[in-house]
Every structure is written in structure tokens, then in C-alpha cells.
């Protein structure tokens, strides 16, 4: 166990484990529903990236802001969006966070700090700066975390946002989930950068690359970035190395992923690794299983609720366009 490891207390580990399993079980459930044909919507699997999202959300306070992407299930559920609302939105129901109008790619839930889920690659970073700017302006002490992919690091908005955040010392954390692919394109085919974190230096910003499958690396890295931001010392770029263990979205072809890569991924699966850590920390198999069983129960109830929930009224297509001034 590494030096840093000792710094993660049991309570925090339990918190991270619970969030991780919530993300994982939600992902499994979604795939099960899709596979069974019960549901037919776009869904971007997070298998392999559960721990990154969970650890990052555990490092935040409840009031902190999050901006994420279409592949944001991890951040969304781990931050704590009530499951019924989350499933409701994904199933396009009136009970969803956004009354079914946003959908899987556009979950918003200000109550739990999920401020924007964007479908346009890299567009979240500039918006995260704005949330952080508001906090800096009004001194509310909040930190904003924005999650994005390795592919997103090549778009202009990434660059502009990084430079601006550092210039103003905004309380923002840039979390790059480097899952080695942007849609069908492997990392080495989209950049010659040794890694994404290296880019931070070009803005005068600290940047760090960590193993996103190792709780002892990912949690302390995000926690330190969050604390730094909260202390007013400015932004940090945290690059979490991880794997996208499925295709780009559910059902999409992933024949372009070489078998060696798939083998490598399996060996690094964060879930067995995390379980091992938990056992090392004197959590019992039973305790851990009970947590998962509890989560499954909650998820099943939420899915039932969402499936039974009413559709949004057709008139909704005319609403929320501009403020209704009656």
C-alpha cells in the first residue's frame, strides 16, 4: 500500500465504495434493460470508469457544482441525484429531472449540483469556469468540478478554459477521464501528447496524471485539487487513466478495440481492486455485499417507478423556451 493510502480513512473508503457500486449497478441495470429491449434510448456505458467518478464526487462537498458529459452517469448518480428522478429522465418521463426533455445526454439537477450535462465535446469546461467565477464573485466557497474525456482535450474550448481558469485562479477542478478512446479513435491516433496532464504547464497550472483504477491515487489527487481550489489557489488538471470497457455507446460496434487492449483493461478493472482494498481495511464480504444488495433494491424500485411514471404532456414542446411572462 502506498504512502497516500494511509490518508484515506475508513469512512471515506466506505463512502467511495458505496458510490462506486451505485454507479456500477446503475450501469449494469441500464444495460440489462437495453439488452432486454425494455428500453430503447441512447446510453453511454461507464463500465470501467466507476471509481473515477465515485472518488471525484466523494472529494466534493454537497453544494459543489459539477459539469459532466453524455457519459456522466457516474458523476450524476455518485453526486446523489435521487434515483427516481434520474431514471425518470433517462426514460423520458414527466418525473425526470428535466421532465423528459433533456434525456440521457442532458441531465440537470441543480439541487445536487449537477448543473450541466453537455453532449458537445469539450463544451463543459468553459461553462465550469463560469460557475466557478460566480463562486469567486460572490464568495460562496463552492468548488466546480468538470469531467471530460481524453478526446475532449483536443478541442479549442479545453484550451481556452484552462488558460482562463488559471489566469483568474478560479476554484475549478478539471477532471480528464482518459479512457484511451474518443468514440472509435484510440489515444495515439488523436494526439502525440505524452499525456493530457502535461498540457497544464503551458498555462502555468498544476497537472497530474494518476491511475484512475487505484483509489489510493485517484481520491487523494482529486481531493487535493478540490482543497486547493477551495483555498483560492486556483485550478488543477487531474488526468485519471482508466478504460472504457464497452463500446462508445450501448450497442455500438467496438471491433476496432484490439484484443491486447481488452486484456489489459480486464487486468486493471477497478472493481475487484477496490474490493480488495476494502477487505484489507477490515470490511467484510458480507458488509460489502449488503451494500450492493441495498443499492440494487433502490435501483429496482427507481426503475419500476420510472417505468410506471407518466409521459410528459405533449404541450411541453412549447414550454421552457423563453420565460413565460403572463
Amino acid at each position: 500500500m502506498s504512502q497516500i493510502a494511509k490518508e484515506i480513512g475508513r469512512d471515506t473508503l466506505l463512502d467511495i465504495y458505496t458510490r462506486t457500486m451505485k454507479v456500477n449497478r446503475t450501469d449494469e441495470k441500464f444495460r440489462e434493460l437495453l439488452m432486454g429491449g425494455k428500453v430503447a434510448v441512447m446510453y453511454y456505458c461507464v463500465r470501467g470508469q466507476e471509481l473515477v467518478s465515485a472518488a471525484a464526487m466523494a472529494a466534493l462537498e454537497k453544494d459543489d457544482y459539477v459539469v459532466c458529459t453524455y457519459r456522466g452517469q457516474g458523476e450524476q448518480t455518485a453526486k446523489g441525484i435521487p434515483m427516481e428522478k434520474w431514471w425518470g429522465e433517462c426514460l423520458g418521463k414527466a418525473t425526470g429531472t428535466c421532465k423528459g426533455k433533456g434525456g440521457t445526454m442532458h441531465i440537470t439537477d441543480p439541487e445536487t449540483g449537477i448543473m450541466v450535462t453537455t453532449g458537445v465535446v469539450g463544451s463543459g469546461l468553459p461553462i465550469a469556469n463560469g460557475l466557478a467565477m460566480a463562486s469567486q464573485n460572490n464568495g460562496d466557497g463552492r468548488v466546480t468540478l468538470v469531467s471530460f474525456g481524453d478526446g475532449a482535450a483536443n478541442i479549442g474550448g479545453f484550451h481556452e478554459a484552462m488558460n482562463m481558469a488559471q489566469l483568474y485562479k478560479l476554484p475549478v477542478v478539471f477532471l480528464c477521464q482518459n479512457n484511451r478512446y474518443g468514440e472509435h479513435t484510440a489515444y495515439a491516433d488523436h494526439t502525440d501528447s505524452p499525456n493530457i496532464a502535461t498540457r497544464a504547464a503551458g498555462y502555468g497550472m498544476p497537472g497530474v496524471t494518476v491511475d484512475g483504477n487505484d483509489v489510493h491515487q485517484i481520491y487523494p489527487a482529486v481531493k487535493e485539487a478540490v482543497d486547493r481550489a477551495r483555498r483560492g489557489e486556483g485550478p488543477t488538471l487531474v488526468e485519471a487513466m482508466c478504460y472504457r470497457m464497452m463500446g462508445h455507446f450501448f450497442g455500438s460496434d467496438f471491433s476496432y478495440m484490439p484484443p491486447e487492449h481488452i486484456a489489459e483493461m480486464k487486468a486493471e478493472d477497478p472493481l475487484p481492486k477496490l474490493r480488495k482494498v476494502m477487505l484489507e481495511h477490515q470490511f467484510t464480504e458480507e458488509e460489502l455485499d449488503a451494500i450492493v444488495a441495498d443499492i440494487d433494491g433502490q435501483i429496482n424500485a427507481a426503475v419500476e417507478h420510472a417505468l410506471a411514471a407518466p409521459l410528459p404532456d405533449v404541450g411541453e414542446i412549447y414550454k421552457d423556451v423563453l420565460e413565460e411572462t403572463v
Binding site: Y65, V67, G96, T97, C98, K99, G100, K101, G102, H106, T108, D109, P110, M115, V116, T118, V120, S123, L125, P126, I127, A128, N129, G130, L131, A132, M133, A134, S135, Q136, N137, N138, T144, G156, G157, E160, A161, N163, M164, L167, Y168, E316, K319, D320, V321, L322, E323
Partner: protein, 328 residues
């Protein structure tokens, strides 16, 4: 009452809003005191009053500028973001259209996005092909955003104040050639509601529907034609989209003839929507087809006499009106 320029009018409106609401702040290139308060001086003097956090000079990063405005708005603030010249929206349309304009709808009403995007443009300054376009039609075609432009200092003050009040994004277009216009200051607290056109001049033979700098051209032509016995009604839309349909249709029902006029290129311009709508809704009142005038369908040329020829010509306005009312 004091006379003010349009620049001062905008400055006063912003100043007032910042004094009233600590959530109002400005960001954009060169906007702070260190840079002299903006290249067109609209934010001059505000840094001294409100500090550098509320008048943020930014890097040349339009995507980051609008993105920051969007984010701050979601967190409850009221940012006023400046895009120095309108053509540069080309680098940040995503933030404006896919985000600012849609976040209220996509969130089911949870996250309105009250931002004002100030930008300037205009033909006739010698800025050439990449700095002179009027692109309001792009935004008018997008749900979830107001498109506003003042033609005079009083409206500038009132529309800016109303735009900052608005709980949705506003594209606020300033015409470079209007900054120096002088008129009576409408005074503190003045507001011109969004979505309300002004009848800049009453008339009975034909309605010109226009906005921004060309309102002056329309008024000048109306003056001239009055001497020839042609009575021209001039409507200054002020809000280009969603526009004041009631005022436009009532005017055309009265005059029976209509001409749309804007500096933007004619094909697929805002005049097309207005003309299409008028002919649909006022079919029985119309004495002839709705006519349209716009800029030449090319990039704006550099050489001064080409640039002048590119702009909608007063002589063409006169010719179209005469053709319409049947007096040649």
C-alpha cells in the same frame, strides 16, 4: 435634459444595473480600466466603481467568454459578455446556440440562462470582409434567445436595461456607426421592453419594417417622400426576434403595403421571415407584394466606394417604395 451618445447610453444602463444588482458583471476583451474600458469605451469608468472581478478583461477566447457567462448565469448571476465584433461569433456559436439558448428548455425549466451578449458590427467603417457582417438572422432562427438592436441612444439605454433584466439570453447588437449618435437622455431607470417595436414615424401609404442603423435611412427617405405626397410609416423593430408581430401586422393592415429593410444580406435574411409572415397574415389587406431590401450578397468589400455601393442605397429604398405605391 442632457444629451448623450449611444456609447454613453449603454454605459449608463450597465452602470445602473451593476449598482442595483451585485450579480451583474461584465467580461470581454479589453473591457477593464487597464485597457481603457473597451475598444469602443462602452465599459469605461466601471472598473473604478465595481472592481476587476466585475469588469473582467479576458484573453482572446470567445468560447471561454461565452462559456463563463453561461456558467455564471446558471449560478444565478447576470453576466454581460462582449464579443468585440459580430463576425467572431463564428468561434463561439456552440456556446450561444447549443448551450445558452437551450439550457432552459433541456433542463425542463430548471436553469434559465440570463446573459447579455453585447457585440458590435456595421458596414461603412472600412473593416472589410471579416469584420462587418450583420448576422442577426442566425440567432433569430434559434429558439430560446432574444435578438435586440437599438437605433438611437434612448432606446440603447432602455433596451440594454431591459436586456439585463431579462431572464433569458439576449444578443445585443450595436452598430459601430451609431455609437456617436446623440440624443436626449431618457434618464435613470429607463427601460424599453423587449419584443416591442416603435413606430418611428407614422404614415399611411406603406410600412417600412427595419431596425438599427437603417432606421435613419428609412426616416430620411420618408422625409423626402413626404414632399412628394407619399406617406411612409417607419417601424423600428428594436427587438428583431421574437419580434413584435402585432405592431407590424397592424401597420401593414393600415397601409396595405410593406417593405423590409436591413443592412444584412438580403437572401435568407430577417426580412424574409417578416415578409413571409406579412403576406400570410395580411393577405387580404395587401395591395401588392411585400418588398425587401438588404445588403449585397457578397462579403463586404474593402475599397471605400465598393463598401458604400454594397450597403442598401437610399435611392433603392425610394425606387422600391415608388414601385410599390405605383408612383414612378
Amino acid at each position: 435634459m442632457a444629451q448623450i451618445t449611444m456609447t454613453q447610453a449603454l454605459n449608463l444602463a450597465i452602470d445602473e444595473a451593476m449598482a442595483d444588482d451585485p450579480g451583474v458583471f461584465c467580461l470581454g476583451e479589453d473591457v477593464s480600466a487597464k485597457q481603457g474600458g473597451g475598444v469602443f469605451k462602452v465599459t469605461q469608468g466601471l472598473t473604478e466603481k465595481y472592481g476587476e472581478h466585475r469588469i473582467r478583461a479576458t484573453p482572446i477566447s470567445e468560447t471561454a467568454i461565452i462559456g463563463a457567462a453561461v456558467g455564471a448565469a446558471l449560478a444565478g448571476q447576470r453576466p454581460i459578455a462582449e464579443i468585440m465584433l459580430m463576425n467572431f461569433v463564428g468561434v463561439c456559436m456552440d456556446q450561444i446556440v447549443n448551450h445558452a439558448a437551450k439550457l432552459r428548455f433541456m433542463s425542463g425549466g430548471q436553469t434559465p440562462c440570463p446573459i447579455v451578449i453585447r457585440t458590435t458590427t456595421g458596414v461603412g467603417v472600412g473593416f472589410g470582409g471579416q469584420h462587418s457582417d450583420m448576422l442577426e438572422a442566425w440567432f433569430a432562427h434559434v429558439a430560446g434567445i432574444h435578438v435586440v438592436t437599438p437605433s438611437n441612444p434612448a432606446d440603447a439605454r432602455g433596451l440594454m436595461r431591459a436586456s439585463i433584466d431579462a431572464n433569458d439570453p439576449v444578443i445585443f447588437i450595436e452598430n459601430i456607426l451609431c455609437y456617436g449618435l446623440k440624443a436626449e437622455d431618457p434618464g435613470p431607470g429607463y427601460r424599453v421592453p423587449l419584443g416591442k417595436a416603435a413606430i418611428a414615424r407614422e404614415g399611411s401609404d406603406i410600412s417600412i419594417i427595419t431596425y438599427g442603423r437603417t432606421v435613419m435611412d428609412a426616416l430620411a427617405v420618408a422625409d423626402d417622400l413626404a414632399k412628394e405626397g407619399i406617406s411612409v410609416e417607419v417601424i423600428d423593430l428594436r427587438t428583431i426576434a421574437p419580434y413584435d408581430e402585432a405592431t407590424v401586422l397592424a401597420s401593414v393592415r393600415k397601409t396595405g403595403r410593406a417593405l423590409t429593410l436591413h443592412e444584412a444580406v438580403r437572401p435568407f435574411g430577417t426580412g424574409a421571415e417578416i415578409a413571409a409572415n406579412i403576406q400570410e397574415k395580411c393577405w387580404d389587406s395587401l395591395k401588392g407584394p411585400v418588398r425587401r431590401i438588404g445588403g449585397t450578397f457578397s462579403a463586404v468589400p474593402f475599397a471605400s466606394h465598393l463598401e458604400q455601393a454594397w450597403i442598401p442605397q437610399k435611392s433603392d429604398i425610394v425606387a422600391q417604395i415608388k414601385a410599390s405605391v405605383g408612383k414612378h
